[in-house]
Subunit: 155 residues, 2 copies
DNA sequence: TGGTATAACATGGTAATTTATGGGATTCAA
DNA sequence: TTGAATCCCATAAATTACCATGTTATACCA
């Protein structure tokens, strides 16, 4: 098992009439090291789908257990939403997954999708929506370039 | 992985019609200690490509996780921008990588590139642009020579 | 020190492989 | 038995691995 798992890059893929999408090969390579499935859920903060390895959600669960006093009730509620929403998705022999109606609707995805790497996680966007979102983020980050230090203080 | 490695020197290489460039052999020697790949992304502050080992980004991912919480908006923005842009680049048996259109365009590279060592990272420049940038940096540094002490205080 | 042999490297071209994607067949369940 | 989900096959395009050559740098020897 490799030590490093990072979902990266921005990949545009088609969604066919059956709702099938190819998981980018880079992503598959990562997933295959650990299992045959990814976990997806509706993002709580944006009109997109979030995906990760089950390990990542497991780590989140552990973090909550170890820092119960740190987490507020609202954050606790958020985790409930995530675990209640999340589902495993396996990919077939050609590397495609079939996303659910619920997820596609939330992300407004019909015939094309963009996979955006986020390190331990990734997101799946409607291409037009992502284009706007990327511009927004870039503008915001450039306006006040964060350091890890200020990022922490800003919270 | 070796503990000590530094990307150094400035190396000029050609870029062929397919976007292939030889990674300088010194750089390859460093990369080979750990894997067969480097990670490249568009610099946030200059018209050039930045490259490093995946370890370096993995460390960044961990730092972001530790500095912000799972639901942080800051974390969202940072990870989208950095990991959404980065990509792995493997080199073939002759030591070449194939840079993407996106990266080449950002750095205005067409038929030649300059690799500039930066310690843990390195940059890839359009030769003319680098010539100007190097002159600019040198002039600036000479004008007001920084020390590590003042650099730290300035934060 | 000078000259030559050797190895390493950058670079051009081509073959082989992988990937994304469409379509059809098969299975399963309501 | 109808609709949906899964599996399998085909293909075009993009990516990657491989081979060949000239050039440069290095090592070796007289």
């Amino acid at each position: 098992m490799r030590k490093i798992f990072l979902f990266m890059d921005t990949i545009f893929n088609k969604v066919d009439a059956k709702g099938r999408v190819s998981l980018p090969s880079d992503y598959r390579a990562i997933v295959k090291e650990l299992s045959t499935e990814i976990v997806c859920y509706r993002s709580l903060s944006a009109p997109c789908i979030e995906g990760c390895l089950e390990d990542t959600l497991d780590k989140l669960a552990t973090d909550i257990e170890n820092a119960t006093d740190f987490f507020s009730e609202t954050q606790d509620n958020l985790t409930n939403l995530i675990f209640g929403d999340a589902r495993r998705f396996a990919f077939d022999s050609t590397g495609r997954i079939m996303l659910s109606e619920k997820l596609l609707k939330h992300a407004q995805i019909t015939d094309a999708a963009v996979f955006v790497g986020k390190g331990r996680k990734f997101q799946i966007w409607n291409p037009q929506n992502w284009e706007k979102e990327e511009a927004r983020i870039r503008a915001e980050v450039m306006k006040n370039r964060p350091t890890l230090k200020t990022a922490k203080e800003a919270e």
